[in-house]
Symmetry: C3
Subunit: 342 residues, 3 copies
Amino acid sequence: MPTKTKDIAKFINGELIGNGEVLIDGINGINEAKKGELAFILSSQALELVKSTQASCIVVPKDLNGDFDKPIIKVENPSIAFSRVIEVMMPGRIPHPKGIHPTAVIAKDARIGQGVSVGPYSVVESGVSIGDNTVIYPFSYIGKNAKIGKNCVFYPNVTIREEIVVGDRVIIHPGTVIGSDGFGYDVQQNGTHIKIPQLGTVVIEDDVELGSCVTIDRARFNKTVIGKGSKIDNLVQIAHNVVIGPNCVVAAQCGIAGSSELGRNVVFGGQVGVSDHVKVGDFVMAGAKTGIHKSYPAKTVLFWYPARPADKAREQIAAVGLLPKLFERVRKLEAKIKELEK
Amino acid sequence: MPTKTKDIAKFINGELIGNGEVLIDGINGINEAKKGELAFILSSQALELVKSTQASCIVVPKDLNGDFDKPIIKVENPSIAFSRVIEVMMPGRIPHPKGIHPTAVIAKDARIGQGVSVGPYSVVESGVSIGDNTVIYPFSYIGKNAKIGKNCVFYPNVTIREEIVVGDRVIIHPGTVIGSDGFGYDVQQNGTHIKIPQLGTVVIEDDVELGSCVTIDRARFNKTVIGKGSKIDNLVQIAHNVVIGPNCVVAAQCGIAGSSELGRNVVFGGQVGVSDHVKVGDFVMAGAKTGIHKSYPAKTVLFWYPARPADKAREQIAAVGLLPKLFERVRKLEAKIKELEK
Amino acid sequence: MPTKTKDIAKFINGELIGNGEVLIDGINGINEAKKGELAFILSSQALELVKSTQASCIVVPKDLNGDFDKPIIKVENPSIAFSRVIEVMMPGRIPHPKGIHPTAVIAKDARIGQGVSVGPYSVVESGVSIGDNTVIYPFSYIGKNAKIGKNCVFYPNVTIREEIVVGDRVIIHPGTVIGSDGFGYDVQQNGTHIKIPQLGTVVIEDDVELGSCVTIDRARFNKTVIGKGSKIDNLVQIAHNVVIGPNCVVAAQCGIAGSSELGRNVVFGGQVGVSDHVKVGDFVMAGAKTGIHKSYPAKTVLFWYPARPADKAREQIAAVGLLPKLFERVRKLEAKIKELEK
C-alpha cells in the first residue's frame, strides 16, 4: 500500500525536509532504487548517492546538509529506521506457511498454541509444546517433550531433538540441528571407544537467530546454552556444555569446543575456533580465523592463530613479513664481526 | 550394453591401436578394472599400469609409446574422453526419481516443465517455475516464486527459499540451502541487536554445481550471485551480496564474507576464508586455509594467514622454521660484541 | 525403576563402601545431582565434590580414600562404569520411533530386517537392505541398493545415496550426507569445467558415529572408507577416496581432501585440514586448526599452519612472539658494530 513521505517520517521519528505528499510504494538499496521507492544512506559522506539515486525519498543521518530535489528524512540511525519501515510497509514480506497442513504428523498430546503454522510433512512428537504464532516449515522434526516458544520461525529441514527448550521469537534457518549428542568417548586399552551418554539438553533463549546448517550439541549433563539475543551465523559448531552469553554475534563457520563459555556481547569473525574449557570474557572481539586456545578477560581484542591481542598480532605479523630481510641483516652482522675479530 | 573398442575409439575421436572388435561392458579405475572393462591413464608415465591392469582396453595420452598385448586408444585428454564414454555407456547410471510422486505437494499455479521428476515428500510453493527434465529428490523445498531452470538435479533435503533464481543444468547436492537471510544486525545502545531485513535474492547461473550442506545467503538488496559454470564444494559459506564470477572452483569449507567479489576462474583450496568487501581478481589461486583479508589483483597466487603472495609465504614460513636458530645466532653476536667492546 | 546401590555396584564390578540398600532412581552430573540420584567423579582430586554433592551415591576411582556420609562405589574407570549404568537404568532413554510408519515410502523389493523402525516420511529406495533393529528417523533418504547394517540409528534428515554400504551399530546424526559426488572436474582450454563422473561408493564400517551435517563424498572409482569404530564430529568434510582407519577421532569442522589416508587411532582437534594425497600415520595427533599439507609417520604430534611437530611449533610460536624484541636487538647490534667499526 503506497504511503506518504510525511507518514513515513512520523513513523520513524524523523525530520522530513521537502514534499510530504510523495507516495512511496517500495523500498530498495540506494543504488537499486527506482522512482516511487524509498532508499537510505548510512553516512553523510554518501552525499553523492543521494543526488544520483532514482529513489523518490531518502532516509539520511541527522548531520547531512545540502539542498535536494526530493524529500529526505533525517533520523538518528538510518539503518534501524529502515528496518522499521520495512516491517510496517512490507508486513507479509516472507511467505510463511499458514495453518496446520493436513500432512503434518503431530502427536495427540502436543500442545499447539494459537495461530501456529506447521507446513507439510513436519513431525511434532509427543509432549511437545509450541507457543502462539510460531511458524514451522516443511521437513522439520520437533523431538519428544521439546518446548518451543511463541513467534518463532523454523525454516525447512530443521531438526530439534528431544527435551530441547527454545524461547520466544527465535529464528532458525534451514538444515540446522539442535540437540545432537555431544562428542564424547572413553578410550579403552585396546584403542576402541565407548560412547559417553549425553544426558543433558540445549536451551536457546529468547530472540536468538541461528543460521543454516548450524549444529548445537546437547550437554553431557545440564545444558548447552545460547544466550538471549545472540546471533549465530551459518555452519557454526557449538559443542556440548558450551554457554554463550547474551547478545553475542558469531559469524559463519566458527567452532566452539566443549564446555567453553562466551560472555555477553562477544563478537567473532568467520572461522574462529575456541578450544574446550576456555572462558572468553564479555565484549571480547576476535578477527576471522582466530584460534582461541586459552581464556581471555573482558574487552580483549584478539587475532591470529594461536590468538593473541590484536595489536601484538599486527606487530608480529609485520615482523614475520620482514623476517627474510632480518636473516640477511644478521648474516651481514656475523660477517662484520668475523672481520672485526681479526 | 557391450560396446566394441573400435566404436569407443570413434566416439572419443581417438586412435585405436590393436584389436577393434574387443567387447567392453564396463568402466573402472586402472587398478580396479577387471577383464572386459575399459580403464584409462592420465600420463604416459603410468606405462607400468597399462601393462599390469586387468582391463581389456586402456585410454591413454597421445604421447604414450610401446607395444601392448591389448588394444589401447590414444586421445588428447584421457580424462575428458573417459567422462564422455561414461555418459554414453552408462546413461542411467544415477537412479534419479522418475515422474511426479503422488505425495509431492505442488502448488496449483506452479509451472512444471515437461519431463520433470519430483520425488516423494517434496514441496513446491506457489508461483514456482521448473524447467524441463529437472529432477527433484525427496524432502526438497522450493519457495514461493522461485525460478528453476531445466535439466537440473536437486538431491534430497535441498532448501530453496522464496524468489531465488536457478539456471539450467545446475546440480545441488543434499542439505544445501539457498536464500537464507543474510547475517546483518544493527547494534543498539543497550547492546541488543535489530535484525536488518534481507530484501534481495540469490541467482545461481547455468552449469553451477553446489556440494552438500552449502549455505548461500540472500542479499540485503539486489542479489548474491554464483557465476556460470562455477563449482562449489561441500560445507561452503557464501554470505549476502557476494558475487562469484564464472568458472570458479571453491573447495570444501571455504567461507566468503558479505559483499566480497571473486572474478572469473578463481581457484580456492579447502577452508579458505575471504573477509567482507574484498575483491579477488580473475584467475587468483589460494592454497588451503588461506585467510584473504584484502583485495588482490588478477592472477595472484596466495597462501597463509593472513594471506600473502605464495612465494613470499614460502620464504617467510621457512624463515619462521629457522627462528629458534636465529635467536641463538643473535645471542652469540651479542656476546661477541660485548667481548669486542671490552 | 529404582535400583539398589548394591545392585549397581555388582553390575559395574565395583567395590561398594556404605549402605547397599539405598534406592537410586536417576543419574546426573556431580554438580547437578539431586537426592536419589547417582553421580560420579573421574579423579580422586575431586574429593570436595563428593562431599558437597546432593547425590545419594557416587561412583569414584579406586584410589579415592576418606570417610563419606553416603555410599560410594569404587571402580577402575568411573566414566566407563557410568556409561554402563546409564545403558541399564535408562534403556529407552532416547525416544526413537517404533515400527514402520505408514507414511514411510519403502520400495517393495527392499529387504527390511526384524525390529526395524522407520519414522514418518522417510524414503527407502529399491534394492536397499536394512539390518535388524535399525532405527530411521523422519526425512531420511536411503538410495538405491544401499546396504545398511543392524542396530544402526539414523537421525532426521540423513541422506544416504545409492550403493553406499553402512555397517552395524552405526549412529548418524541429523543432516549428514553420505555418497554425494566427489569434487572433480577437468578444465578445458576455454576455462570451463567438465564434471568427472564419480563411479565409486562409500563404506562406513561397524561402530562408526557420524555427527550432524557431516559430508562424505563417494569415490571416483573404488571407495571412500570410514574405518571401524571411528568417530567423526559435526560439520566434517571427507572428500572422495579418503580412507580413514579404525578408531580415529576427528573433531568438528575438520576437512580431509581427496585420496588422503589416516591410519588407526588418529586424533584431530577441531578445524584441522588435510591436503589431498597425504598419508597420516597411526596414532598421529593434531591440535585444533592444524593444516597438514604433507605425509607424517606414525605417532607424530602436529600443530600449527602449515603443520609441524608440536614441540617445534611451540618453540617457533614463542619465537614469533619475541620477534619485535629481536628486531630491536638486531638494531642495537648494528649500531654497536657501526660504532666499533669507527
